[in-house]
Amino acid sequence: MGKHPAPLPGDRRYCRNHMWCKATDDGYRFGFTAYAVRLMQDVYFLEWSVDAGAAVAARQPIGFLESSKAQSELYAPLAGTVLRFNPSLLNDPSAINVDGYNAGWLFDLSGDPVGTLDVHEYRDFLTAGWEHTQRLLKKQVHETEDE
């Protein structure tokens, strides 16, 4: 799977949308995995379309980001209530790249972390999905219809 190692700490769980998930005092904290950061490269714009306190459904669009190589809608990894967004990212999202597993966390969410994966499962998920991911990316380079 690619040439670059993507470190995955074993002290947390992982989501299929390439976020990590770690229990906090009042819920779970989420951020991008090294794999996601590797795909995006330098993130320079991040905005949230819901406010802290909002109830969100799993896979509901909650924000948007743009990086040097990519752009993406961001989706809630699970159903719950958004407790807070990382305030330090709002003016400068570079911590996502510099320290994605700690200072570059994205948001805290309360909810049931159903469907999250442990580090081994996530690694298997990445390996299994790599062919598909490459196809998805290469397809976009060749055609612009992205719907």
Binding site: C15, R16, N17, H18, A36, L39, M40, Y44, F45, E47, S49, R59, P61, F64, E66, S67, K69, A70, Q71, S72, E73, L74, Y75, A76, P77, T133, L136, L137, Q140, V141, T144, E145, D146, E147
Partner: protein
């Protein structure tokens, strides 16, 4: 003719520092440009009918350049929908890495199907819509404004030297109407906060009036005018973030200028330059075909409104209907044999 060229800069929504920086440097460069009258308005798409910026745009009679963060096609039809009409000015400013794309002439499109086309009288002026995303520095914008200025000047000179074709002038507003000019609008009013809006913009050079959007949208956004032509009747009943009708449109004529995906935001077909890879599907977005996505989006909005989700039971185009009655051709047979293999 000493007519000035009006250049309107439409700001990006939000406070993206890189975007604001480019806007300011383009404005600074054009401010000292001879023959140019410069105005800055908030995001064109957000301007309601009563906003001063919109009143100013209404008042401009001559040739106009609008530089916005919207695709040229989106900006042009957005203005047209708001009654700010003109001929489509072809810009030489193209997205990077677009050199070998074929030019499409929007003035005389080669139509396979009959489209609605521009409605009403088109005044004798050109509107050029430039996209801020097509260059990273002010230089290319200034060069393009200069080129347009020269193009408009020679067009007017050519017109002045030949006798006016009488028929074309019928029904047009009187010549040299008194323009209030930019001085009549204070910069503060022009830049008053416009709030955010969300509604579809129909590209009438593509729309065939098939009315599938009217059938599909259950929020009463669409209607028809006196001539049974599709119009966005109630813009503000549209659901923020929902581009479902655009996915349903068979001609890709419905533009949501602020939607994140280029095809829906009004990029021309085949425009690759400046586009970025969209990771939305990897990061949890819905995968699947356009109709499925549209149905899911519509259901989400219906439920948010306290209504029942309808799934695919209402307003789904039946483009495959009747196919079975035709005799099978070679391709069908091939597809059937593949099905039989069970792969």
């Amino acid at each position: 003719m000493a007519r000035k060229l009006t250049v309107v800069l439409s700001q990006a929504p939000g406070k993206h520092p890189a975007k604001r920086g480019l806007e300011e440097s383009v404005a600074a460069a054009l401010l000292v440009e001879p023959g140019v009258e410069l105005a800055v308005v908030p995001n064109l798409y957000d301007l309601g009918p009563d906003h001063t910026g919109r009143l100013f745009l209404d008042a401009v009679r001559g040739d106009m350049v609008v530089i916005s963060w919207l695709y040229p096609r989106a900006a042009f039809w957005l203005l047209d929908r708001n009654g700010i009409k003109g001929h489509y000015g072809e810009t030489a400013l193209k997205p990077p890495a677009d050199d070998d794309e074929e030019e499409t002439d929007t003035d005389t499109p080669v139509e396979k199907k009959e489209t609605i086309g521009p409605a009403g009288t088109i005044p004798d002026r050109h509107i050029y819509t430039l996209d801020f995303r097509d260059a990273k520095s002010p230089g290319p914008f200034v060069d393009e404004v200069r080129r347009i200025l020269a193009e408009c000047k020679s067009r007017h000179e050519a017109k002045a030297s030949s006798p006016p074709p009488a028929l074309l002038e019928l029904g047009l507003p009187a010549k040299s109407p008194i323009e209030p000019g930019l001085a009549a609008f204070s910069p503060d009013q022009l830049l008053a906060d416009a709030g955010r809006r969300w509604y579809p913009v129909i590209d009438y050079s593509r729309c065939t009036n098939c009315l599938e959007c009217l059938d599909f949208c259950l929020f009463g956004v669409y209607g028809v005018d006196d001539h049974d032509r599709i119009v966005t009747e109630n813009q503000d009943q549209c659901k923020k973030g929902c581009p479902a009708c655009s996915r349903v449109c068979p001609e890709q004529a419905i533009i949501f200028p602020e939607y994140k995906s280029a095809a829906i935001a009004g990029a021309n077909d085949g425009v690759v330059g400046g586009l970025k890879i969209d990771l939305s599907k990897l990061f949890g977005g819905d995968a699947g075909d356009a109709i499925t996505a549209a149905v899911a989006e519509r259901d989400r909005e219906l439920v948010a409104d306290g209504r029942q989700a309808v799934g695919a039971t209402i307003g789904i185009p039946k483009r495959q209907e009747g196919r079975d009655h035709k005799p099978k051709d070679e391709l069908d047979k091939l597809a059937d044999s593949l099905d039989d293999l069970g792969v």
